[in-house]
């Protein structure tokens, strides 16, 4: 069925919405997992993303791909979650569980977990930019839509994110 018709039907019909979930669950879950690296949390945030999508489905006007609209909701859900954690002071506890030995060589350290740890020190928007561009393989324009910025603002945010990430990596391994 045509995606637009399916979305229209999903407003009232649970089966149609389940079809949408089947189509996009994996991609949304993977994105959230790359941002959090915690399975249970990713499961909960993915559920929250789809329930929020169901709630705001009438506001989707079809101006972008539906997956981008879902990724935008997912980004907001993740950011809301981390902001809540920051407010409740539980953020550092959850992000400092796994860490690498500072004596390791740079080659050993550059894996996703290490990058994720460094990214966790960046702003939520910078984290989203790097995840979307490098791990979700979105271009600047699409990432700009997902984050809710203009392409130019997105470019600035992207370079600032790279510079900040480089600083964080340098802090963790001096040879970089």
């Amino acid at each position: 069925m045509d995606e637009k018709k399916l979305i229209q039907k999903a407003l009232k019909d649970r089966e149609s919405f389940s079809e949408i979930v089947s189509l996009y669950y994996k991609e949304i879950f993977k994105y959230i997992y790359r941002r959090t690296l915690v399975k249970e949390l990713s499961k909960d945030l993915t559920q929250e993303t789809f329930l929020r999508a169901l709630k705001y489905l009438p506001s989707y006007k079809g101006k972008s791909l539906f997956i981008f609209w879902l990724l935008r909701i997912a980004t907001n859900v993740i950011n809301d979650h981390f902001r809540k954690e920051i407010n409740e002071n539980t953020f550092l506890k959850t992000t400092s569980n796994t860490y690498l030995n500072e004596q390791d060589s740079p080659e050993d350290q550059i894996d996703y977990e290490f990058i994720h740890k460094c990214m966790s020190k960046l702003s939520l928007r910078e984290q989203a930019v790097i995840t979307l561009i490098f791990f979700e393989h979105k271009n600047i324009k699409d990432a700009a839509f997902i984050i809710g910025k203009t392409a130019n603002a997105m470019r600035r945010l992207y370079y600032r994110a790279l510079i900040d990430l480089k600083k964080e990596i340098k802090k963790k391994c001096n040879n970089f």
Binding site: S18, K26, L51, K55, L57, I110, Y112
Partner: protein, 238 residues
């Protein structure tokens, strides 16, 4: 410096491209999806009912706001327009007649500003900036107007502390006889003023200094004090 930054950026971009993100097995994700579908069976109707209720509320709110905005516009038109006419009238009179007018003295009627100044009626058409000056018409006040005017004069401090000439001591003429009552009506504003004249004797009058004491039946001179009363405002015009 720029080149160094570019190189650094490229270096970190290449590094990020080479990093393989952590992945989970598809089966595991599928099992999560099945869990969510079970949740969805319960949540779907709840969310859709909530969404529809919110939409109805939003429509009601929008109507409410529209009505409120309409009422607000009407009210502002009722109160703001006369205020603007007052301001414009005062400005035009100041420019053309070189007279300063207080906004509270401007009467707004049928979209024009009217000012009663120096027993003249000044009508200002604010859109064409045209000023017309007209004289009041004499009229015979009704019995009620007469009574009201006399009452206002008798209870006024102007009559109780009346000073005929500068330097004289004030005297109370509020209970004195009424000599005449005349009405003035301004044709454009329909505003009425009533002139009440009271009799009084100057305090500086000394019988001995003016008339020979031997003249029998000699009377002190009778003077009249004229008070212009604005019945609507219940006060004496300065």
């Amino acid at each position: 410096m720029k080149r160094k930054n570019k190189e650094d950026t490229e270096k970190i971009e290449n590094m990020l491209r080479s990093v393989k993100p952590s992945e989970l097995a598809d089966e595991e994700i599928e099992s999560y999806k099945e869990d969510f579908n079970r949740v969805l069976q319960e949540e779907f109707s709840k969310v859709t009912v909530q969404r529809d209720r919110r939409r109805v509320l939003r429509v009601k709110l929008a109507y409410g706001l529209a009505i409120f905005a309409l009422v607000l516009t009407l009210f502002s038109f009722m109160y703001v327009k006369p205020y603007l006419i007052r301001v414009a009238t005062a400005r035009i009179i100041n420019e053309q007649l070189r007279v300063n007018i207080a906004l509270k003295d401007v009467i707004v009627k049928d979209g024009v500003g009217i000012v009663i100044y120096n027993y003249q009626e000044v009508v200002v058409n604010v859109s064409s900036e045209k000023v017309e000056v007209s004289q009041p018409i004499e009229y015979e006040p009704s019995d009620k107007e007469r009574e009201q005017a006399i009452e206002i004069v008798r209870s006024s401090k102007e009559a109780k502390y009346f000073v005929a000439k500068e330097g004289e001591a004030p005297q109370d003429i509020s209970k004195n006889d009424v000599v005449s009552i005349e009405g003035l009506m301004f044709p454009n504003s329909g505003k009425k003023l009533v002139e009440v004249s009271l009799a009084y004797t100057p305090t500086s009058y000394h019988l001995g200094s003016r008339l020979p004491p031997s003249i029998p039946g000699s009377q002190p001179p009778l003077m009249t004090a004229k008070f212009t009363v604005d019945i609507e405002k219940g006060e004496i015009q300065p």
